[in-house]
């Protein structure tokens, strides 16, 4: 028998009244929400075959227990279909994982979004976009899955902008920030397989992230040419000194140019590691590193990040010589990328 729903119930006249109540009570991210009725919430739970009292995660630093019931209510409000729910649940498990370290990206002035990268067979039937207009707009699954996770952060974990969430600037990805890897056309090993999962498993990787930085290279027809431009854009980006996680998203034309030269993700990663280092002198001159410039600082190099912190994803439209990189929030030590299996 299905567990009783224990959340407080509120009476409203109609759907429009419910939408206004959500604004009045501070439950919304600024957009209208779908009213979370019992029937809708039960259907959402059924989408992942979870009982309402199932514990999805605990955020110890905030003393918050996240139940499936609360995740389902917020997923309804975000506009998710019940079949999206297993992805929402896996993403919430990931942000509650101690390695993601919720208290940092959930509160920081640095304004982290939760980039979610979906891999595996679940992406296609749910129409999770891996192509044109990768970061939106236009796809219900991409926009509502990420929104559901953000509403859980707001309503369950307390990350309300202006209160616990103190982002100085924030960014549009804080509304929703979901992509899939274009496994159908990618010549490379999928991200989740690189991170220890089997290709036939579905998984979501969460990364506390800045906004995407698009770069242009419409001239090169070699891997080294395209990646030289990317490295030049990346070298001074994000926190620079923080040694963050970096997600590099290579879209259609660049993906083919690089793959045609026989480069795999490992070689791309190594090239970016080698070509994004900064001299101590430059970091000190530009107000990023403390201390006076010392002898040898012009030659002494500091990696932008560690090799394993560079995640490569094949995604984006087929046409256009554009790709992007996404600097992670803070340092990779402060918040690690976390991958969880999607169980549907």
């Amino acid at each position: 028998m299905a567990a009783t729903l224990t959340s407080k119930r509120l009476s409203v006249r109609d759907e429009a009244d419910a939408i206004e109540m959500a604004y009045d009570k501070g439950w919304s991210d600024g957009l209208p929400v779908v009213p979370p009725t019992e029937g809708r919430v039960r259907a959402m739970l059924e989408g992942a075959r979870l009982e309402a009292n199932h514990q999805v995660g605990i955020i110890r630093d905030r003393a918050v227990v996240i139940s499936a019931e609360k995740v389902a209510i917020n997923a309804v409000m975000a506009g998710c279909k019940p079949e999206y729910f297993p992805i929402v649940v896996a993403a919430v498990e990931a942000i509650a994982d101690h390695r993601w370290s919720y208290h940092g990206p959930g509160t920081s002035t640095g304004g982290a979004g939760v980039l979610m990268i979906v891999n595996g067979p679940i992406a296609r039937p749910l129409d999770i976009n891996a192509g044109d207009n990768l970061f939106g707009p236009g796809w219900r699954s991409n926009l509502t899955i990420g929104r559901a996770v953000r509403l859980v952060m707001r309503n369950v974990c307390g990350s309300r902008p202006g209160l616990l969430d103190r982002g100085t600037l924030g960014h549009p990805g804080k509304l929703s920030y979901v992509i899939a890897e274009n496994e159908a056309e990618s010549p490379w090993t999928p991200l989740h397989v690189e991170r220890g999962f089997r290709a036939e498993q579905s998984a979501v990787t969460v990364v506390a992230s800045d906004a995407p930085n698009q770069f242009y290279n419409q001239l090169s027809n070699t891997a080294e040419g395209v990646l030289t431009t990317l490295a030049d854009n990346m070298r001074i980006s994000g926190q620079v000194m923080g040694q963050s996680t970096y997600v590099v998203v290579l879209a259609g034309e660049h993906m083919h140019t690089i793959a045609n030269d026989g480069w795999d993700k490992k070689r791309i990663r190594q090239f970016l590691f080698d070509n994004t280092q900064n001299s101590y002198a430059h970091l000190k001159r530009t107000g990023r590193m403390t201390g006076d410039i010392a002898a040898g600082d012009e030659q002494r190099m500091r990696p932008l990040t560690e090799l394993e912190n560079i995640l490569i994803v094949a995604a984006g439209g087929r046409a256009g010589a554009f790709s992007c990189f996404i600097p992670g929030w803070g340092s990779a030590k402060s918040s690690q990328a976390v991958t969880k299996e999607i169980r549907s």
């Binding site: 119930r9 030590k333 402060s334």
Partner: protein, 92 residues
Amino acid sequence: MEILDPTTEAVTQTIAWAPRPASLSGKRVALIDNTKFNSDNLLVRIGNILKHEHGVAECRMFRKHNASVPAHPEIVAEMETWADLVVAGIGD
């Protein structure tokens, strides 16, 4: 119609607060450095004010692993045995 509340209802719990000392004179104060730029410099200044203006006997810095995690158990245990007071809460 009825809708369900999406927020977490707070569960009441009792916390034992440490009593506030009547005076800082002769006390040992732990300063928690959260690793952000200049947090250590700021705490050194606070420590000096506590010593010179309020009679604190000694200040010691304890460094967290990074700014987004709580102080780790090893330094908490050390502070428990060594310190009378703790200064925490450095932000940006």
